[in-house]
């Protein structure tokens, strides 16, 4: 009995005087728990495959599932009586695609771009409606976390979902459905 009391007293004492070993054990346990927690798994699952494209010094992300293809910019045929941001139409694999300059579309929001020369056409598609976005550069599919509400663009349009950081760049994440609506007025189709 007295031996049992002695052991109990010893435990009480060790609880009071937490050793470095206990601290380390607690750290290991906490780390293990964090690894197994479902919250961490959800954060990974929320990453979305996106295609990145650059216009001037600005990067944009489009959900990979909305991107049909990326082709070199060829001859763009100007179409009369269109909005200034519609550069015209381009023949892509035998079909015509309206070509939009994001910098001109966004200039209506007073977002300024440096002058640039587009070399790529990123063709996005939704419910059969296609649109080509001219870009200086396009990168392969990259998994991005959910965008945060961008505070830097107070006049941002509905087609800008938010911003994420990627390799020290601030990437503007675009909503393709709303972009088509803004550029082509697809809600009236």
């Amino acid at each position: 009995m007295s031996r049992a009391n002695s052991r109990e007293n010893s435990r009480e004492n060790s609880r009071e005087t937490r050793t470095a070993n206990d601290e380390l054990a607690a750290l290991v346990a906490a780390r293990q728990q964090a690894k197994e927690t479902p919250v961490a798994a959800t954060a990974t699952e929320n990453r979305t495959p996106c295609l990145l494209m650059r216009m001037s010094d600005r990067w944009f992300a489009l959900r990979a599932e909305s991107v049909r293809e990326v082709v070199a910019v060829d001859s763009i045929t100007k179409v009369p009586a269109q909005q200034p941001y519609i550069l015209g139409v381009m023949l892509v694999h035998g079909g015509l695609v309206p070509v939009v300059d994001l910098s001109l579309l966004m200039s209506e929001l007073h977002i300024e771009f440096e002058k640039s020369s587009a070399r790529r056409l990123v063709v996005v598609s939704r419910e059969g409606v296609e649109l080509g976005l001219v870009a200086e550069d396009a990168r392969g599919v990259i998994e991005l976390p959910p965008p945060s509400e961008g505070a830097s663009e107070p006049r941002r349009s509905a087609f800008i979902l938010g911003e994420v950081e990627w390799q020290e760049h601030l990437v503007c994440v675009l909503d393709v459905a709303r972009l088509l609506e803004a550029a082509l007025g697809t809600e009236r189709v």
Binding site: T77, V89, R188
Partner: protein, 138 residues
């Protein structure tokens, strides 16, 4: 079942940076440029070609709208080269939903002729635009 011709003549011309075409059979005359006739480039908000000597006046007609009414004759200036080309069924480019829904008026479609994409114009829509343009000058 709707039938269509296998080929149709198109009058191809320029309007500044635009390459345009209209149904050649609805063209009444191609004449020397006249300063009192509006340039079609300005109708579309672009600058005409710089060389006045390379301009032509194109006179077009639209069908009479009802019994007893006269066909409408209208003219516009266009830039060189002005020429008739043949446009076959295969030359007409398929259009996506956006291009089909009439939003592009007066554009009726596009054709690929001689490695060049032409914008095909709907003549009644062009005539309508010209008539609505008040006090227009070349």
């Amino acid at each position: 079942m709707t039938t269509h011709r296998s080929t149709i003549s198109v009058l191809r011309f320029s309007a500044g940076p635009l390459r345009l075409g209209v149904a050649a059979e609805d063209v009444v005359a191609v004449m020397a440029a006249r300063a009192d006739i509006p340039h079609i480039a300005r109708l579309f908000g672009v600058e005409p070609g710089r060389n006045d000597l390379e301009r032509r006046t194109i006179q077009v007609t639209t069908a009479a709208e009802g019994q007893g009414s006269e066909p409408c004759l209208t003219a516009f200036q266009a830039d060189f080269p002005v020429e008739v080309v043949r446009c076959g069924f295969e030359d007409v480019l398929p259009m996506g939903p956006w291009l089909e829904c009439g939003r592009l008026r007066p554009v009726m479609g596009f054709a690929r002729i001689d490695d060049e994409t032409l914008v095909l114009l709907d003549i009644p829509s062009v005539v309508d635009m010209l008539q609505k343009r008040e006090g227009g000058t070349s």
